[in-house]
Amino acid sequence: MNALAQAGYTTSTGEATQFWVLAIFAVAGALGTVMMKKAVHSALCLAGTMVILAVFYLANGAYFLGVVQIVVYTGAVMMLFLFVLMLVGISAADSLKETIKGQRWLAMLCGIGFGVLLMAGIGNASLSSFEGLEDANSGGNVHGLAALIFRDYVFAFELTGALLITAAVAGMVLTHREKTEATPTQREQAAQRVRDGVQVPPMPAPGVYARHNAVDIPALLPDGTPSELTVNRTLRDRGQIRDVSAQALADLAAIEQRTADYQGKALEPDTGDDAEPNGSVSANAGGKAGKGEGE
């Protein structure tokens, strides 16, 4: 093995250091993608791995692809993932408990077998010569790629354009919902509500009587029970309603207690409470009337 080949066969120490450090993080990110319970965390782990891969692309002389990796993958694709996660729900009942019998073990077995065999194959392959990209990149990496794309691979490139257009149309078609009937007017909605007879007055707004004025906290009905109608259906489906009714009732009790303390009376049963204020009001009225007469 001569010196030149030897030079092409090994990399610089800096690259080796970079590889070993970043490879650990890349694998950790990949494992995190698979194992994180929340999809958002998985997405973040994946983004990290992709960035590290972009660095590896750059180290391997693929400057253009390294940049594209960051722009397209971590930039566009991962953003798309996050958007969909927001639409669908960040923690949509995704427990890691396996429901299909034996699935996890089979997957593990196949995965380990696959990895071992693949690595054994790589180890077996006679990868003795490494050319390096110095010659190919001599006119610039982007120029070299462009020359190949627009000359040798021009048809494939054109077809890719068609593919992208088709995919864009497909995305629109799949997510588009055809409107099959006219949107009901307010008048029609009101009439329908009366006809149904279930909820005649308008829906309660979220946060009414609540400590938090937040969308995930249901309104409390007059008796203190929470009304799930007031929370968005997506949140309901995900089970992300925060019930604060107990707290609200406790708060109310505390206020009444304070009032009672201030008036120096013991807290009496509800019936007595209700009767006395009525009586005092009528007494006040009688007093006012008497005053009026006196003037």
């Binding site: 690259e15 590889f19 969909v84």
Partner: protein, 99 residues
């Protein structure tokens, strides 16, 4: 260091991604694992490009990225429409083919 190590790394990432596809039920996470597998392939392709001293490997990796982008668009659209009809993003809920 021998650049073959990049290939080992690619194989490992690919395997992890594949295992993720098999283990996870959240369709979005499954999809992410697929992206991970594609990226592992790209790493291997770019390493091959360096080994052989030409840019064809990078070209293939480039096309892979394009196809992956298209795939993401369609796949996510499918997940969204599935969620609309089922209120679930679990791949196990799309099990109407059984029995």
């Amino acid at each position: 260091m021998n650049p073959v190590n990049y290939l080992y790394l690619a194989a490992l990432l690919f395997t992890i991604g594949a295992a993720g596809v098999l283990i996870r039920r959240n369709a979005i996470v499954v999809f992410m694992c697929i992206e991970l597998m594609l990226n592992a392939c790209n790493l291997a392709l770019i390493t091959f490009s360096r080994m052989h001293g030409n840019l064809d490997g990078q070209i293939v990796a480039f096309f892979t990225m394009v196809v992956a982008a298209a795939e993401v668009v369609v796949g996510l659209a499918i997940i969204v429409s599935f969620y609309r009809s089922r209120h679930s993003a679990s791949v196990d809920d799309a099990a109407l083919m059984k029995l």
